[in-house]
């Protein structure tokens, strides 16, 4: 039936021809005013939900435990909630993480722009991935090469309007798994375009080339195995070293795609990211995909209501899931802080057994990455509740084992103190 209706029969004919990788979304908007207008709305969202929403509230203020967990790393200085796609450029330029001291943007690689601009596809095409990442953040800004926030060119091919992979790191990561996105179905692409950005990444070597740790697979144990291998082979040691504890730490970042596709209920049932985050809306007789992407809890009737007629019941359920995940996550954080405290003290003790202490560090590295994989994921558990709760259970167990190992290393039962964070007074507060 679809085949009987070739594209040329579409109601609306394109008004202008859009050039390949056109960075300016307003150009595309001439042909597709509904999609363009709704994309612009991402600039206007400000209201919050219980755990998410569209203000850039500070996660460090909301839960100061994270100041301790990220000590020694820029994330302990500022870590805000994400907001609409139209804000990407503003936010990456303003973040304290890139402006800790005056010259920072000159030293930072342009890699930090990779997921923030519709100029990227054309730039990658021109410079190649390595050429792009070899530039500095400041150079990119000053040269005016990067001017637009996220836009049509990040997800669509001009002309056909089909969804495509635009980030060369995603293309490469899929290739490492023997996959080619060109064989993906339309429904798969409706999730995969988000994976251009909503994925865990790291930067390889001195050149800071953007890479996704997917060669072994995208499940948590496979990603951990990947990083362990990189550590053993010396290709990638750590995102940072935890001060006074000498732990080679890993930072997880927005692994929405990895989390969601790890056998979640919705993924198993064939639901895509766009189904919830870009539900169809009606404009006159016709319907189109809402490009005003935000928390579906702000328009649940539309986002969930077509599939779940009893919207109220599923929303009650979302609440419950998120509360349970949040509380479990806090318990894990308490265990991690107990463990960090123990490892720091054991590290300070020259009599500590080095082997045992290294074992403690390895356990902690793993534990904290698992926790962060949940914490940095932006759905507070909803994208895959069971998988996430199991991950937290495992993380807590490993954190406690790390603490015990540290205590053994130092032969010091005092390191077994629990509830360190709760006893802190005052609690840490984020730098201003």
């Amino acid at each position: 039936f679809v085949n009987n209706n070739p594209p040329q029969q579409r109601a609306m004919q394109p008004l202008v021809e859009i050039k390949a990788m056109e960075p300016d979304s307003s150009q595309w908007g001439i042909n597709f005013p509904n999609e363009y207008a709704s994309l612009l709305k991402t600039k206007l969202n400000t209201t919050d939900t219980t755990y998410g929403g569209s203000s850039k509230f500070s996660h460090l203020e909301k839960d100061p435990r994270q100041i301790i967990l990220f000590a020694g790393y820029p994330f302990s200085k500022e870590y805000n909630d994400d907001r609409g796609h139209e804000w990407a450029l503003t936010d990456v330029r303003q973040t304290a993480r890139l402006n800790l001291k005056a010259g920072d943007p000159k030293e930072t690689h342009a890699t930090c722009y990779s997921c923030k601009s519709s100029n990227n596809p054309a730039l990658w095409n021109e410079l190649g991935l390595e050429g792009y990442d070899a530039m500095t953040f400041q150079q990119m800004t000053d040269s005016g090469k990067i001017q637009n926030s996220i836009g049509c060119a990040n997800c669509h091919e001009a002309g056909t309007m089909r969804l495509i992979v635009t980030n060369p790191s995603l293309e490469a990561a899929l290739k490492e798994q023997g996959k080619d996105w060109r064989t993906f179905s339309r429904q798969e692409m409706r999730s995969l375009v988000c994976a251009n950005c909503h994925v865990e990444y790291y930067m390889v070597g001195e050149k800071k080339v953007l890479h996704f740790p997917w060669a072994e697979g995208t499940r948590i144990d496979q990603i951990l195995a990947y990083y362990d291998k990189a550590l053993a082979e010396g290709t990638f040691k750590a995102d940072w070293e935890y001060p006074d504890a000498k732990i080679p730490m890993l930072k997880a970042q927005h692994p929405e795609y990895e989390m969601y596709t790890a056998g979640s209920t919705h993924y198993n049932a064939g639901v895509s990211c766009a189904d919830c985050h870009m539900p169809y809306v009606r404009e006159g007789a016709a319907k189109y995909s809402m490009h005003d992407i935000h928390s579906p809890l702000k328009n649940p009737e539309l986002a969930c209501g077509q599939c779940h007629t009893d919207t109220e019941s599923v929303l009650r359920r979302v609440n419950l899931i998120q509360d349970q995940v949040y509380n479990t996550k806090l318990a894990t954080e308490n265990a991690l802080i107990d463990s960090l405290t123990a490892i720091k003290t054991a590290t300070a003790n020259p009599a500590s057994n080095a082997t045992l202490l290294d074992e403690a560090r390895a356990l902690h590295r793993k534990a904290q990455f698992m926790w962060d994989f949940v914490s940095a994921e932006n759905s507070m558990g909803f994208h895959n509740p069971e998988y996430i709760l199991k991950m937290l259970a495992d993380s807590t167990d490993l954190a406690r084992q790390a603490q015990m190992k540290a205590s053994q290393a130092a032969s010091d039962p005092a390191l077994l103190a629990t509830g360190v964070y709760n006893a802190l007074d005052p609690k840490p507060s984020p730098a201003k």
Binding site: F1, P7, R10, A11, L163, K287, C307, D310
Partner: protein, 162 residues
Amino acid sequence: MSKYIPILAILIAVIALGIFAYTSEALTYAGSRPETCANCHVMDAAYENWYHGPHEKWTECVDCHLPHQNVLIYYLEKGRTGMHDVYIFSTGQTPELIRAKPETKTIIMENCIRCHKNTIEAVVMGPQTNDRFCWDCHRNVAHGARGLTLLPMQDSTLYPTK
């Protein structure tokens, strides 16, 4: 005499068929009323859930379940599925839960698009084929929220949970 036998036989057959058709209301099966489908008690759930679903006002079973390209295809398919259902029913092979066959789904899908072409034009067409059914999202339109359930109708808003 013997030459009348075939005529008599035909006559008797016609009368018998007539009586059968009359008593079994067979002619109604050529029509399109949903109640006809519900003659068969195994169609009860389909009927009930359609009746309580959003399309009851606008559609009958055949609007969705039979192809509408042209009259010929319509009646050919009607005959074919009708024969199939009667055969399965009268030989007692009715499955515990009746499920739409893949061919049926294709027919239904064509009908959704037939009626709603304007609404969905911009989103269904595109360079990649539309690889899902409308009712993957619109789970309640045809037969209520949970399809052809045999369970009593339930509504969690009427069922306070705490």
